[in-house]
């Protein structure tokens, strides 16, 4: 099972990006920075999941268990 956090962080990043044009000009950097942070978090989660799969080839049961507890 893919880590649900990936989609959650991407969704949160999309919501923040959607706020950029609505935010007042002087505060526009807040949704921009927050959206970037969520995209980076999503990338880290994706890398982590990929790394776990690489470390445990042929052991899908363990991989799934790790993903849930990690």
């Amino acid at each position: 099972m893919r880590d649900q956090r990936l989609w959650f962080f991407l969704g949160a990043g999309a919501v923040c990006a959607g706020m950029v044009p609505l935010a007042p000009t002087d505060l526009r950097w807040v949704p921009v920075v927050t959206a970037v942070v969520y995209v980076v978090l999503a990338a880290l989660v994706a890398l982590d999941s990929w790394g776990r799969r690489q470390r445990r080839p042929g052991r899908p049961g363990l991989r799934q268990g790790k993903a849930r507890s990690g």
Binding site: L22, P24, V30
Partner: protein
Amino acid sequence: MEFGVIAVIAVALAFDYTNGFHDAANSIATVVSTRVLSPRWAVTWAAFFNFAAFLVFGTEVAATIANDVVDPARGVLTVGVVFAGLVGAIGWNLTTFYLGLPTSSSHALVGGMAGAAVANAGFGVLQEEGLRKIGVFIVLSPLVGLALGLIMTLVIMWSLHRVRRLEMLNRAFRRGQLFSAAAFSLGHGANDAQKTMGIILAVLIGAGELDANADVPLWVVLAAHTAIGLGTLSGGWRIVKTMGSRITRLQPVGGFAAESASAITLFFTSSAGIPVSTTQTITGAIVGVGATRRLSAVRWGVAGQVVWAWVLTIPGAFLIAWLAEKVVRVAS
């Protein structure tokens, strides 16, 4: 000062008092649940920092409430309109309390002010840019709190991952929670007391007691901080519902991270003059701490209530205030 002005100020301070009463649990729940302080000492601690916030922060949020929701130059914010706005906010809070629906006092106040002003003079009196700023940060503040809570937890865990003596670590973070709870209470006092200051400032300007560009008088600042501090002191300990375990189970390190993350968010928004929901900010931060483990560690029913509060609160308070303004106008 005429009786109507005094009455509206009294109602605004009562609103502030109930805010402290209800939101005290946010500041002290984790400190109490980890047994750092007894409930009574915890509320005293939180109330002190609620009050002390006036020494640290300015009155930017008050200025936003008084000037950026309804155009003050139009002379709409009369005593009757501000009273109807407060009735809308309090009425919505009581309705949602009775029905068990999620709400935010801060959003209710903005919705109430807007509803009463529109009932009096139409949609043209609303400040589009000010409402946009408030609306954007209604959505952003829990997401910023969530991201900060998550990042702080990750940084703490990463920097201390070699420490094997977990008991010692927990003891250190229990003590650290004293400071994080104090910081959160400071942010809560700053943001929420200033909303009341904004209402009082608006009514004083509307009644001709102050000039349109006047600063918030010191007595208003002290009265608002005293009201929220007393609310926290008198009510908080009876309604401590451990926010920590309600959303996700927190260890001392998680409580420290969540409170610090929401304190940072509140310090920033208070300095930038942005009224936000303190409850939603700490809810977001707690979800962020829980999300470092896995998403299923988060009780999404509680987190989802934040979204419902976004959708329902402003229109609900707007509608009640709109009706209240019509009644006030007929009665006077």
